[in-house]
């Protein structure tokens, strides 16, 4: 299961498993973003390269207008994936 909710503050909360079967729908939601946002991984168990692709496409689009995503609360396994992909060079991660 995967879900994505946008809180009142504009923070995006991801939960469950962000895999290739979810990427297309998730991209539609991310495409609605036009300004900087925090993406909270607190309840996200898993992400694959398809999920990473959605995030990097969004980051690239936002950076073109001086905006960006900031990622918080990554679990240790997801943090490893970001490190192996060198996404720590591309995203602010807290």
């Amino acid at each position: 299961m995967f879900s994505m909710t946008v809180g009142q503050s504009g923070e995006i909360l991801l939960s469950g498993r962000f895999d290739a079967a979810q990427a297309e729908e998730a991209l539609k939601t991310f495409n609605g973003l036009t300004s900087s946002a925090i993406v909270n991984f607190k309840d996200l168990e898993y992400i694959s390269s398809a999920g990473l692709g959605v995030l990097i496409a969004t980051q690239r689009r936002l950076k073109n207008t001086g905006q960006e995503l900031k990622l918080i609360n990554l679990n240790s396994h997801i943090r490893d994936v970001f490190r192996y992909a060198r996404f720590d060079l591309i995203f602010k991660i807290e």
């Binding site: 079967a21 398809a50 692709g53 690239r60 396994h77």
Partner: protein, 133 residues
């Protein structure tokens, strides 16, 4: 445990359910479960994307061999695609220079202890070995 899955991204929930049975049975750690799911998804989706014309299902088997988990993925009627021969990605590029493609396989190679590939009788056979925590 062995099961075959339709060649579709929409098969992924069934693939995860199958892996979950093994993960629960063998009481794998969260880290090992993550790696097993990740490697399975990346290889499975690669076969869906790059061998879409094959009418055959894709077969996954997963077994415990002492301190290791062995994941085998068999793709029928497949042209050779050896992930172990893929060139290394340059991941130090800036955002605007990064191009999609190849990241999933690169990450699998980082995360999995051993990947073997055979192409026999028009079949691609991927055998992944993960030493368990």
């Amino acid at each position: 445990m062995t099961r075959s899955f339709k060649r579709s991204i929409q098969s992924l929930p069934s693939v995860f359910e199958f892996l979950g049975e093994f993960i629960d049975k063998e009481r794998l750690s969260e880290g090992d479960a993550f790696t097993l799911r990740f490697a399975s998804e990346e290889l499975f989706t690669n076969l869906v994307k790059y061998n879409p014309e094959s009418p055959s299902d894709i077969t996954l088997s997963v077994t415990r061999d002492g301190p290791s988990a062995i994941l085998r993925i068999v793709d029928q009627q497949a042209q050779a695609f050896d992930p172990t021969k893929r060139p290394e990605l340059d991941l130090n590029k800036k955002l605007e220079e990064r191009r999609p493609g190849g990241l999933g396989i690169h990450l699998v190679k980082k995360m999995i202890d051993k990947i073997e590939y055979q192409h026999v009788d028009n079949k691609s056979i991927y055998t992944l070995t993960q030493h368990l925590e």
